[in-house]
Symmetry: C2
Subunit: 150 residues, 2 copies
Amino acid sequence: MALTKRGAAATDQILEALDEQGFRSTAPRRALAGAIGEQERHFTAEGLRKQLPPNIGRATVYRTLKILVDAGVLCRVLLEDGDLHYQMSHHGHHHHLLCVHCGSSQDLAGCDIEDVLESTTSRHGFELSGHWLEVYGRCRNCIDSEQVAD
Amino acid sequence: MALTKRGAAATDQILEALDEQGFRSTAPRRALAGAIGEQERHFTAEGLRKQLPPNIGRATVYRTLKILVDAGVLCRVLLEDGDLHYQMSHHGHHHHLLCVHCGSSQDLAGCDIEDVLESTTSRHGFELSGHWLEVYGRCRNCIDSEQVAD
DNA sequence: CTACCAATAGATACATTGTCTCAATTAAAA
DNA sequence: TTTTAATTGAGACAATGTATCTATTGGTAG
């Protein structure tokens, strides 16, 4: 139930974003939005596609994902093995803590990376315009359950 | 001349690394090492391949690049547009300052990102094991020449 | 110097992830 | 209801990489 509610909220958020950007509300896009709402964690474009009716074309999936990333509702997540995933984006600019054990991700908020980067790069005479950061490790849950398991 | 020397040094470094890891010295690998030595900046697998005699197969290029990355002589560079490039790796773990204007890259050394990450992630109960960071902006040269141009 | 054999090579098929084009369909404004 | 621009799905194409297979070859044991 909690999941359903969360999913519905995410779905609505996606549909609203599409509307705000002036995109039409179409059946494939509603299906996509619903499917994304059901994801419990980051997902791939192909993974998502497999959960959709087969009459929804590959191009539609990729086109819509791109729109959603550009609109800021979705963000890309780069896994340690190089795979590119997507997930709902809750904050504007943020980073991810990716658990290499269970695959979950948390947002890294309230992080002062920007300041450190700014001062470090300016020492190189470099004018910062953007950055990409992914952090890998083990989440609290996995650390706790390993204590028991080992 | 300076370039040739630097290239030769890089080439030697690659050949040594292969030898150290117990790989054979073969003609294709020597050609690859030579070509990498000639690169003035980060390059793609396919770009490299185009600079090699056509009798050197695609698989060989990719196989060798993978070996070199694993050996630590090469590192991967993720460009802002998502393209994956390679370049010589001079330090163990480091990051890149990528100029979005001229495409050059400098290594970001003496950076205290690790410390900041460590303290930030531990607040999330997260046990850090690795991270990936790319920094985008404008290098000093490009800033200077823009002053003149504009 | 030669014979041997595991490592390596190139060719090629395949896989993944995505983009492009185009005719057919459809949302939504008039 | 009509209109029409946005959108769709199909499928070709592209970029990047991996897997498999047979032929070749580097380096070593004689």
